[in-house]
Symmetry: C2
Subunit: 514 residues, 2 copies
């Protein structure tokens, strides 16, 4: 895309046409500056086909805020809108509306509360609550969903890969398989959700994290095409990177050529006082090759060098590799645990595309309108009770049981404080017969989940460091039941409504359906 087009396509017009059609209608009705409140939430965990998530990890907020602070209606943008025609050839957007957009400028009047990035999050709980003038809050929808849905999807996938990888290092390699520059958002979310490092040089550099990567098959091919050998290529690599020598060993034949040549070079490095870093396996039966490579490396006195695995890895493949090593290693007299401990996972395509479920179905729903004197709750009807939205101005809480584990998320009305209640009744969101009651004494803690981020465009928080977001994620994941963390067939975490919210919802449904 040409730079001038990028300013148009990535600015405030990074939105769907209907947001602008509706904004003009609100303007015409005099509703455009009425305060409105929208909730952003997702309805179900990602379902990857044969496995599904038991929790998500929120991400994307900082970049959304950065975008909101930059995005403004420029003259060029308004020209594009001025040029639009209806089917009768008339102007679609009138001058007075365009003048309003020019005046409104951007998202300076928007207030936003959000669950911070890196936190464990669940369906139906508002991740982001937007309050502001109806027209601009409406226009924000597309960019908000775009940023928060994708990064939350990828942070979630990364958390699953982290879970499957146990304590091993996970490297994100997906840049070439992402959607244009959007791949950077995938890298960022992967680092929040569970990847330790990335191969993405630019993004990693902006985060102050060293990018990771050594060489591709092309290096060995270059040497072969010039009449030299794999060993020559490895030696050249070791000469330039004696302290970072990690060799890709599957260009010709892993066990007959790659690993023996790597070991020769490692021996030469050792003789010079260097510590070789490892080998990378990128094709074939990775579990079998890891065992055999480990045996060869051990015999040569390199029990400490890493074995990096790559090639269409995801949480199930990693689990399978570990299982196979555990079963097969003893047959070769190898220590399965020691092999698993030296593995590093390079995860590309299946992380950046969230293999099996390529989108998080997060939505942005009107929950309240101000009528000039008071807030009026809004609801979205649907065929199934589970798809009805939760109306009104709300708050969200996490309840910890006596063990200190998260036992439920509770959605309440904004003016409720469950921490003050003697007894808490948690209602199932759409089944009246199901509820749980807690005595206050059985609850170790009740934590508000939403943080005030923007008040009429003004930032109220400092953006957290990557490290801080990762710590939140670690802390939250550790306080989940093992059943919820399971990568296949996880327990369903409870998300409940307060009795007052339940009653409001039923009242509104009865009104609208009656």
């Amino acid at each position: 895309m040409r730079p001038e087009d990028r300013r148009t396509a990535e600015g405030i017009l990074f939105t769907d046409q209907y947001q602008l059609s509706m904004a003009q209608l609100y303007f015409r009705q005099g509703l455009h500056e009425r305060p409105a409140q929208f909730d952003h939430f997702f309805r179900r965990y990602p379902d990857y086909g044969i496995h599904e998530a038991g929790y998500c990890v929120s991400a994307g907020l900082e970049w959304l805020i950065d975008w909101m602070r930059e995005a403004r209606f420029r003259d060029e943008d308004l020209e594009h809108l001025r040029a639009q025609r209806d089917r009768a050839g008339g102007r679609l957007f009138a001058d007075d509306f365009l003048a309003y957009l020019r005046r409104a400028g951007g998202f300076d009047a928007i207030s936003l509360r959000a669950i911070p990035e890196g936190r464990v999050v669940h369906p139906s709980v508002p991740l982001t609550i937007v309050r502001g003038p109806l027209a601009m809050a409406q226009i924000l929808e597309t960019a908000l969903l775009n940023q928060l849905n994708y990064q939350t999807l990828i942070a979630t996938k990364a958390a699953r890969i982290r879970e499957a990888s146990r304590a091993a290092m996970v490297l994100e390699f997906g840049l070439r398989r992402g959607q244009d520059r959007g791949a950077n958002a995938g890298t960022r979310a992967a680092l929040i959700g569970g990847a330790d490092y990335t191969s993405n040089v630019g993004l990693s550099s902006t985060l102050g994290l060293p990018p990771k990567g050594t060489h591709a098959h092309a290096l060995v091919q270059v040497f072969l095409s010039l009449g030299q050998s794999e060993l020559d290529a490895f030696r050249a690599y070791a000469e330039v990177y004696p302290d970072d020598c990690l060799l890709l060993v599957d260009t010709i034949n892993t066990l007959e050529s790659g690993v023996p040549n790597a070991i020769r070079v490692f021996e030469e490095l050792r003789a010079q006082g260097h510590h070789p870093a490892g080998i990378r396996l990128d094709s074939g039966d990775l579990a079998y090759l890891a065992i055999q490579s480990a045996l060869m490396l051990d015999r040569a006195g390199f029990p400490e060098v890493a074995i990096v695995l790559s090639s269409d890895l995801d949480e199930l493949v990693i689990w399978q590799i570990q299982t196979q090593i555990a079963q097969e290693a003893p047959r070769y007299g190898a220590d399965a645990d020691a092999i698993i401990r030296r593995l590093v996972y390079g995860v590309g395509t299946r992380l950046v595309t969230s293999h099996g479920e390529g989108a998080l179905g997060g939505v942005y729903k009107l929950v309240a309108m101000h009528d000039g004197s008071a807030w009026r709750p809004a609801i979205k009807l649907a065929d199934t009770p589970a798809k009805m939205t939760n109306p009104g101005l709300k708050a969200a809480w996490r309840i910890y049981d006596a063990r200190g584990f998260a036992t439920a998320d509770l959605i309440t009305l904004e003016d409720e404080d469950p921490a003050q209640a003697e007894r808490l009744t948690l209602r199932h969101p759409d089944d009246y017969s199901r509820h749980r009651t807690f005595e206050r004494a059985s609850i170790a803690g009740i934590e508000p989940l939403l943080v005030e981020v923007l008040r009429e465009g003004r930032m109220l928080i400092e953006q957290p460091s990557l490290e801080a977001m990762r710590e939140r994620r670690l802390r939250d994941v550790e306080r989940l039941d093992a059943g919820v963390r399971r990568i296949v067939n996880p327990h369903i975490y409870h998300v409940s409504l307060s009795e007052r919210l339940w009653d409001l919802k039923q009242d509104l449904l009865a009104q609208l359906q009656g």
Copy 2:
């Protein structure tokens, strides 16, 4: 992302670390300016799980070229590289190498041939051939794959949705489900591959195409929350957009509320001399609701207004909807064909994420190195013959049979001209026993597929218009056998090697394996 970080993360450091590690090694070996040639190709069509593509549609080239012309090593980029350390604490990238990158600047020395955007393409055929100094051609890999893989994936999915939609209008709605700003690349590719319009305001505006969209459920909710009705919301819409009145009818109840209210408003519009545009169905049994809505609209004298369908559509869902309408409409005395003809498909998530296969596995492989006096072919070995690369400097051709249909793509050495041959032997790429022979007289045409785009950084072509790319796609798809166009279980299109290329490949394999 902050603007200054975007310049870093979206510039020349939008690459994988190993490209830079290898580049420094080539520099150290004096190979960095040796001419090298890389082919970009994909190995198999997208496989969506229960259905797979029989052809792809190429896209992404223009944006890649735009990126290549902008991307340069700036001082800030070199500072990031200078800061990288190896495990022993030493500098990873030496000053002389960084000075070389500064001098090299960007991709000014790169030459590139490519199959133009919008053309039908097949596995193993080089879509892009890059020739240039080894170091910079290596560094280009990541961005090239990122741009061309994703856009080709989406243009392909859009072509399938186009195929399933027959002559109906297809609207792209996926902006909120893409990967950050990368969603714009999805929109562009969708428009090349088969979508008629998009809801994406910014991108559509840069292409000179009117964006499409009317209103969301939120509009009706706003009116309901303020004590007004769906009918009030529809009337407000009709007042602002009397000539573009397309109403979303499923906010309360499609057949009992939405469609009757829409018809009332349409009648009011008609009385004022306007032509209502249509209704949109976004939930429920879309085929059933389309039939019932069509009947109601027909009875009210609106047989011409469109019925827009949205909600997780893809090529299979569209096919199923048409099949159900064809079977079910007659039972209600409705004309199935007339209903199908008035449908418009709004396709979002499943198009922009290429539902079922979220990445195209395009690769970038070294095929030749210049040794100072001559080109030396390079090959990549692999466990299976199908994964071996085709070595050497090559050309690609499409062969049309007597009917004018594409019957095979042929990969040859660069100095071969199959158009001059009396007889053509087409070899299966990895099975010696399989080949086809054509007499020249049985061939209606032999067309070179690759076009010279960049010669040492200089553009040799004008970028085609969207219209021109769409015409190429239409023309190419029309010259495919019906079996290849099938959306489920397509015929395998033939991709063949010339005898000379086959022989070269076998010689190299024998050398390397012997």
